[in-house]
């Protein structure tokens, strides 16, 4: 697997798109920090970027890579290599190179700005960690979608729909159900609904840092326990990890049963 990972990874980091992605973050980081001169604001803007853009880019990149390397995958499948190794290797190659672009692209301007000495370092690290998680999750999901759909256009469509659903529609439905059922105790429901969407989950994880004062304004005891203690952070991280593992298992499962 490591060999495949290595080749996919190097193949990708030499591709034009990785540079575009890297330069995008680099520019974003520099603009936010050096034009605004305000770390707190930069962190808030970055959060919006991370929870919306990273899943989108992860999804599109994953699907694109999968379909573009289909023939190459077939070449590999005829080689004495375990099937799951091929897909895992490619998956980690894509997710890894995207994560590297993200970390370097944002990390360089922040380090140059002197973040290491500022106390925003924890918030910033959390942003990057969450971003990495989202990259792995959405590349994973897009691989699962791509491997389940021979038709490239269909697969692409499903992947973008999935992103649209999780990034926007889900929250709309979530909001509506909260308002419709407002007479009932909803704190367990809303926490569970949050956990079921990796984008919401990442958002909450960052909110725990940025907006804890607002989150603690709500009465529910479960909320209070969740947000008021380290429990929230640990549970969110745990579930995010679960979210990362699930597509990988799904990919392994699909890969084992697929004909090429």
């Amino acid at each position: 697997m490591l060999k495949i990972l290595k080749y996919s990874f190097f193949d990708l980091i030499r591709s034009r798109w990785s540079y575009v992605y890297f330069l995008f973050y680099l520019t974003l980081g520099f603009v936010l920090l050096f034009l605004n001169n305000d770390v707190s604001k930069a962190v808030i803007t970055l959060m919006n970027v991370i929870i919306v853009l990273i899943p989108l880019i992860g999804t599109i990149f994953g699907v694109m890579y999968y379909y573009n390397s289909r023939e190459f995958t077939e070449l590999l499948l005829a080689q004495p290599i375990k099937r799951s190794s091929i897909f895992m290797g490619q998956y980690f190659g894509v997710a890894g190179s995207l994560t590297l672009s993200l970390v370097l692209g944002l990390g360089i301007p922040f380090v140059l700005y002197g973040l290491l000495r500022s106390n925003a370092i924890f918030d910033f690290t959390l942003l990057l960690v969450t971003g990495a998680f989202l990259t792995f999750i959405f590349v994973g999901l897009s691989f699962v979608i791509a491997i389940s759909n021979e038709n490239k256009i269909k697969g692409f469509g499903y992947a973008v729909l999935l992103w649209l659903f999780l990034a926007v529609v889900y929250d709309g439905l979530f909001l509506m159900s909260l308002i419709v059922f407002e007479e009932y105790p909803l704190d367990t429901f809303s926490l569970v609904a949050t956990m079921l969407n990796p984008i919401d989950l990442s958002r909450i994880l960052i909110l725990l840092k940025l907006d804890i004062s607002a989150l603690l304004g709500y009465t529910g005891a479960i909320f209070k326990k969740f947000f008021g203690t380290d429990l929230g952070f640990l549970v969110s991280m745990g579930i995010l990890l679960l979210w990362t593992v699930m597509p990988i298992l799904g990919l392994g499962h699909k890969a084992k049963r697929k004909d090429f």
Partner: protein
């Protein structure tokens, strides 16, 4: 016996592609797998390679069952039908990479010279023409010393010179006692190379034997007509 296949079934959606194929492939011979489009040639090959998972049936390669195995592929060199390689890497790197992945001794230098690929080694694969890509594909397949060779449409895009080289190469491999499976649409090529013909029709082995037997059975004047005859009789039957 190099390969045995028993009662192989495979269905894609509603399309029953293989309907109980029984087959044995003996060592040291060249087999041509023929059949009309959609008769299951590629499916059969891919089943042997483990890329297609049969619904039912049993395959052994070199006397070992292949189900859920992957190490046996080390004994097979496969030339895929369409060679589409990662665009961003160079020919040299691709060769190096396949060598690295297979971890077996290889003789790529001689083959590179044979097909005149030297000037292309430092070029990215995306810049190569179809024929050159096919040459690279051939190099990747023939550079290892595996007892079983599977060639899916090996002649695609080759110029006459390269075709001659390929034929020589196949003969040489045969002389070394290797078993070779070929699919091709070029009947002349098949006639020239194959010891045995396997004719697949509607998911079953419709004919198995050498060219002489084929001609006798169909009563056709030459190989090409014999194949055509097989196809028509088959579809009427």
């Amino acid at each position: 016996m190099t390969i045995t296949i028993k009662d192989l079934h495979k269905q894609f959606g509603k399309n029953q592609v293989l309907k109980g194929v029984d087959l044995t492939i003996d060592k040291g011979q060249i087999y041509a797998i023929l059949g009309p489009n959609g008769s299951g040639k590629t499916t059969l090959i891919k089943s042997i390679l483990g890329m297609v998972l049969p619904d039912k049936g049993h395959i052994t390669v070199l006397d070992k069952p292949i189900k859920k195995q992957w190490k046996y592929r080390k004994q097979i060199d496969y030339l895929p039908q369409i060679a589409n390689f990662p665009p961003n890497i160079k020919v040299k790197e691709l060769i190096h990479m396949i060598k690295d992945l297979r971890n077996s001794p290889s003789a790529e230098k001689e083959l590179i010279d044979l097909f005149g690929l030297g000037p292309f080694l430092d070029k990215k694969l995306s810049t190569l023409s179809g024929g050159t890509k096919q040459k690279v594909n051939i190099v990747l397949t023939f550079m290892f010393e595996s007892p079983l060779l599977i060639l899916d449409e090996p002649t695609t895009g080759l110029d006459p010179m390269a075709l001659i080289r390929l034929k020589e190469l196949i003969q040489r491999e045969k002389a070394q006692g290797k078993t070779i499976l070929i699919t091709s649409h070029i009947m002349q090529f098949v006639e020239e190379m194959a010891d045995k013909i396997l004719y697949l029709l509607e998911g079953e082995i419709y004919f198995k034997g050498n060219i002489k037997e084929l001609l006798e059975q169909t009563g056709a004047p030459d190989f090409e007509h014999a194949i055509a005859a097989l196809t028509t009789t088959g579809s009427h039957a």
